[in-house]
Amino acid sequence: MHEISLVQGLLQQLHDLAAEHRTARVTKVTMVVGPLSGVVVESFQFGFDILTREDDLVRGAELEIVIPEVSYRCSGCGAVEKTAGQRPRKCSGCGDPILIAEQGMGGDVILQQVEMED
């Protein structure tokens, strides 16, 4: 459950942003959670629900989670497969099991956008 510590880091960022923009409430948070980030979306949502309940700034805010596609390049035939789902077990073209993930946002967890009110 490292998702809880990531949500704690997120809340700190939201407090900093609210102070910077002099706002009193966060109404919506948009996150990008890469499929290779090692973060379980349900656990992140659970951590967000639990921790924001105790937080006057963020309580009741909507959490939108965007899952980006990751490109997997086959080391055999070079074909590229894109999916936001689980890592493919093998190339759907030639069956080679060695697929190289092109990380990009796929391995990251990004605070993309925050909506706040005065």
Binding site: H2, S5, G9, Q13, G38, P97, I110, V114, E115
Partner: protein, 250 residues
Amino acid sequence: MCDACGCQTHIHDHDHGHAHAHTHDEAVIVDVNRSLFAANDAMAKSNREHFDEENLVVLNLISSPGSGKTTLLEHTIDRLGGEIRIGVIEGDIETERDAERIRAKGVPAVQLTTGGACHLDASMIHRGFHRLQKEPGGDSLDLLVIENVGNLVCPATFDLGEHQRVVLVSVPEGSDKPAKYPKAFTSSQLFLITKTDLLPYFDFDVAEATREARHLNPGLEVMAFSATTGDGFEAWLDQLRNLVSQKKKP
């Protein structure tokens, strides 16, 4: 100055100048686009720079509880303690037990207890390393081994500033671990299969574990050994000797 302990480390993990828009009903929309790992990654980078200044090789050991991380360290210290100056940072949820086992070998060790957290992060290592440097012998090391909290999931997500990440799977755990816990294997440089003296008693296929791990990470180095019997252990010791001697070269 770093926030963690007031040392002279500079951390730059903030970027300012977000785009933002005000709509008519006073809602404020800010495009942030900042990684939740940014703060940890910045601290890990600063740790790595610190380790490099000290000519120190740093390993981060990751495995399930009970794979034999501490036992591996004990046997490593027995074999290399006379030629390489080793220090250890132990991560656990509770107790000093592992650090005590390492200190009993005459090697400086610091115990980090996370109090429930399932992984170590870079700022814990930053503080832990400062503590280790105050221990007898802790300020002149060749090799620092960080034993992460026993967990094959969460530690894989946090860079500590190590030079090599080492993932262990012991024979009783089964050879399906790479397929089930891919991130620990995609983020590591070295995969150790431990307790190979138990191969006759368990259904563990070394070739399958190696194959599955290399499907995920073709560059992954794999070693199989028993620290207890010493079978295959020399390859691991040579790896450590090589890493340390490469670091010493100007």
